[in-house]
């Protein structure tokens, strides 16, 4: 974190947008390095490995994570329509 985002010194002139972008970029870089990047549409077509892992876990948050994709799928199935159509 320190390498990616050198410590800010209060006496320096700064721009709030720049500082925000630097910190966001640092967090995103760490996440990319650790978790990698994937394309959503392609990942959805692949086998769901996470669900198998979640099935083996018994805690509450794992159960909710297991339920969420199913709920989202039912919401996504409902398409918004034009009022005139």
């Amino acid at each position: 974190m320190d390498t990616l985002f050198p410590s800010f010194k209060g006496s320096e002139r700064f721009d709030v947008n720049m500082l925000n972008s630097i910190l966001c970029a640092a967090v995103q870089a760490i996440v990319e390095r650790t978790l990698g990047i994937y394309k959503l549409e392609e990942s959805r077509k692949k086998e769901d490995k996470a669900a198998k892992q979640l099935l083996a876990e018994l805690d509450m948050s794992a159960s909710i994570q297991l339920l969420k994709p199913a709920q989202q799928a039912s919401v996504v199935a409902q398409q918004m329509v034009s009022s005139t159509g």
Binding site: M1, D2, F5, S7, F8, G10, F14, V16, N17, L19, N20, S21, L23, C24, A26, V27, Q28, I30, V31, E32, L35, I37, Y38, K39, L40, L55, L58, D59, M60, S61, A62, S63, I64, Q65, L66, L67, K68, A70, Q71, S74, V76, Q78, Q79, M80, V81, S82, S83, T84
Partner: protein, 555 residues
Amino acid sequence: MEVCIEHYSKMFNSSASSSIPSAGPSRYTLNNLCFSPPHPPALTSCSSRIPALQSSEPFPESTLLASGLLANIWIDKIKVQLGRMSSTASCGTDGITVIMLRHLLETSFPKHLHQLYLAWLRTGQTPRRWNESIVYPLCQDRKEPYTAQNSRPISLVCLFRKLFEALILPIVSTSGKMPYSGVQAGFRSGYSTLTNVLTLDHEIEADAGSPILFFDFAAAFDKVGWSHLERELKAQDINPLVLRLIHQLMFQDMTFSLIVNGCPSAQQNRNCGLLQGSPLSPILFNRFINSLLQSLKWQSRPSFPSALFFADDWVIISPTIQHAQSLIDMATRWADQHGMAFNIGKCGSLRTHTAARTPMPPSILLNDQPIPFVNTYKYLSVMFASKGIDFDSQSTLLCERVGRHLGALRWYSASWCPRIQFNILKSILLPTLEYSLPLLYGHFLKDGKSKAWVTMNTVYNNCLQWMAGSAANRPHVTCHLLGLLPRKDRAQHLLSRFYLHLLSMDKNNPLQAILDKNFWYPKTTHRIAVPNHHSLLFQFLNPLAVFTPHLPNLG
């Protein structure tokens, strides 16, 4: 997509310019998220009207200290707040989630974030990126076609901003001389939906004589304009730095990208409305609407509130039609002066007790239109009819909700082990079924043959059977094996908890005055007899009756 963009552009812009810009530069995705270009074109129309707030001059240190903001932003608080946030909360345009940040808690990240928050406070400026939001139009009424008009815009903002808002929330809530009206129950401690519902039920049972009037502001949060909010906040003597922050976070250079059927639009400008999904919005709305509440309260009858509010859901209770009409005229004037509009289709006039027995009274007018008469009205997700809470309809409503969940769960839970089903039962099904259960159980204590109670028991048993299998025909035994309380014991438990909530409610809650008038336990050590025909409220007067309902009542 175009229709939806036009609809929301009109809604979010006080002087609507509904032109639809062409799609923006190409986007890329990371972990399921869309990233928009770094800086959208800046708006000038809104901010140019408020030169004092547009200044980028840093505030003097004394103003910063006086605002109290510095005291609320420190590293440990950032960590605690991040721990409190839901791990499943959606991220904003930057794609950063709570789980990502939680993994960085033990690094120097909280220190850097703390430094940035302080830097932003000292300059009195927030990053422009914070004002980009993703708007999901959620379907409002599932019985109607899912159109732009039948949707509610939920805004997703970036997490750094959400965290910042959560940290400054106590200051925004209390800054200045803010006398919150006692009839506002929304988003306040010492109040709840159930205390409001119980108060209204008691008022109806007390038989005010004239109809109970329910009101709905059209797109209440989305219609709040800066000039009106600023006027209210200044009248409340809010700290100027807090005022500037509110302007920057809610109204300066705001843009939104609309997600329609999975497709994001280009960033659109917006210059009015409080973001639904931002932690500050409910508090700001309470402050915005407070002057209306204060004016309605001044005309109240002794010990009876003439209005009850839960954020923008409100109801007028008045002894006479003339008095009710004068309150409505006052509210209409307030709405005109504050850029708000009523959704007359969702307002309702409920005739209660004597009013229901007399010939049809003259219509009460709202903006020269008669408020439609209704036989039932759903207020705060509780069904009301002419005699108060309609317990049968309420239990049917809850059971239908749970039935829909259960139907869906049966489809995709075949491979789940019982422990996962148990978790879902406890976290989704039972909380849905148990909303308003203390009141339903209070009614059951009055009427042991209550149909509502039987209906809810049946659905509770269905939930248990979903979990334990259709052969589990003894719910009492199943409950004990699962470590759950049987239905009646659970209801008793929730009733007792609700009683404790009543003991700790805000002293200005109207229900407090009503209970005090009836000599409930904190006011007397004598046990009060509760005859069956008494109103529901009496079930909550006496701790002995609450905790040991099987004991005979004493005179």
